[in-house]
């Protein structure tokens, strides 16, 4: 019989981080992934490492995670680029909220500064001239998520983890049954993102579709990851569809342009009307984007929970069954902190942050 200390189901960025953390802690680890490692939402993501300050629990998880990401800042596989995050105000209301946001981020151990209109233009000349205020988080960065997931799985395997290229057919008592009928015995951690309902249908999760566009290489065109301050309203709103300005300079000089959000869409095809709406929003903030040549557009699905927070912890009613899924658009940022918290809980260590806001029991009767 195969016996493991932890069976990690799913090798996206979240599962990869959990497997790596568990292997580093000396556990006998199995990783179960039938498809490409880091090939789901991880491969569609922007790879922006960002602290969102509008939910204290999310901010704590992001802070823990951003500290952990620093260990990879020199790793070639991470393609870590410290471009910083520049938030821009589209209205006087948003500008008025900047001081409080700066204070929250600095109080959490991060770094942020308010910028006036002139400073905004100095740090990012291509922005629309009518934008009046912004906030810069200079230590934030971008990475290349799928390559990072593959690195973490390789590292876990170098520490003894076993990678099973099968799908989990069902969760059994004391383990997992694979689609070839074989059984892996040991505690199970489900980290399957949007596929969560297949194994844990009791935890509500909806796919939230997004579009991204990447341009040809225009070095120097954009210096920071730039988002509109209203981004969180789009990200956290429960509207059927929304768009928000979010652009990123890749280390190649390419510009990654987002973002869109749609519930209740199964079709993964690029939607021209949604793409047009997203780009119109981006042009409003950065008119120079109109001149750039886009070379590819794609979509992805974010795993969204009802309250926007991931499920991290024990699955109620089952012994030795854990979950780390539902990170929506922040899975790359918060994967390392999620892994740390899960391993704290699994090993009975004092949790690095309060686990209560993420407990899966919150959505169950």
């Amino acid at each position: 019989m195969n016996g493991y200390d932890l069976i990690v189901v799913g090798a996206g960025i979240v599962g990869a981080c959990c497997a790596d953390e568990a292997a580093a802690a000396g556990l006998r680890v199995a990783i179960v992934e039938p498809a490409t490692v880091g090939g789901g939402a991880t491969a569609c993501a922007m790879g922006h490492l960002v602290a969102m300050d509008d939910d204290p629990a999310e901010l704590a998880l992001a802070r823990l995670s951003l500290q952990a990401w620093e260990a990879f800042s020199e790793l070639p596989e991470a393609e870590f680029s410290r471009c910083g995050t520049l938030w821009v105000a589209a209205s006087a209301d948003e500008a008025a909220g900047i001081a409080a946001r700066v204070a929250r981020i600095n109080a959490s151990g991060g770094e942020a500064h308010a910028l006036d209109a002139q400073q905004l233009r100095e740090v990012e000349p291509a922005l629309a001239p009518d934008l009046c205020a912004g906030m810069l988080a200079p230590r934030e960065a971008v990475v290349y998520p799928p390559r990072m997931a593959q690195h973490l799985v390789r590292r876990a395997c170098a520490r003894g983890a076993a990678l099973h290229r099968r799908a989990v057919q069902r969760l059994g008592r004391g383990g997992a049954v694979l689609d070839d009928g074989s059984v892996l015995r040991g505690p199970v951690l489900v980290a399957t993102g949007c596929a969560l309902p297949r194994l844990l249908p009791q935890l509500p999760l909806r796919p939230r579709k997004g579009h991204l566009v990447i341009t040809d290489r225009y070095p120097g065109q954009l210096r920071h990851q730039v988002l509109e301050l209203g981004y969180a309203d789009s990200a956290h709103g429960s509207d059927g569809s929304s768009v928000a300005f979010n652009v990123q300079p890749r280390p190649t000089g390419q510009v990654l342009v987002g973002s869109s959000r749609e519930f209740d869409v199964d079709d993964a095809a690029v939607s021209p009307p949604m793409l047009a709406r997203m780009l119109q929003r981006a042009f409003r903030f950065m008119p120079a984007l109109r001149e750039l040549q886009a070379i590819r557009a794609w979509t992805g699905f974010r795993p969204a929970t009802p309250d926007g927070r991931p499920y991290l912890g024990a699955v109620p009613g089952h012994a030795d069954l854990w979950v780390a899924a539902g990170h929506e658009g922040l899975g790359v940022t918060t994967a390392p902190g999620s892994a740390r918290l899960l391993l704290d809980l699994i090993l009975g260590r004092t949790p690095a942050i309060d686990p209560a806001p993420y407990a899966p029991s919150r959505v169950l009767p």
Partner: protein, 84 residues
């Protein structure tokens, strides 16, 4: 037979004269038939499809980068840079 008017432009600083209606790619070919642009890894590149699909003929024209030379008609006084 109609005689075409000529258009004068510069490719990498060299003057060239081509018939009106010619593409920038044709003008580049007249100046540097074996040299176009380099890929990001330094490999030589040249027009392949000639119809705007392959993107191999990208040049800088009057300061605008990443334009497909095969799709842009020449204009008098144009400054074309194949390594822009």
């Amino acid at each position: 037979m109609t005689a075409h008017a000529s258009v004068r432009l510069q490719v990498d600083g060299q003057p060239v004269e081509v018939p009106e209606g010619a593409s920038v790619a044709a003008a580049v070919a007249r100046v540097a038939p074996t040299r176009f642009r380099d890929s990001v890894h330094g490999a030589p590149r040249a027009p392949l499809c000639g119809m705007g699909v392959c993107f191999e003929c990208r040049v800088r024209i009057d300061g605008r980068v990443q334009l497909r030379a095969c799709m842009v008609p020449v204009r008098e006084g144009m400054q074309v840079d194949t390594h822009g």
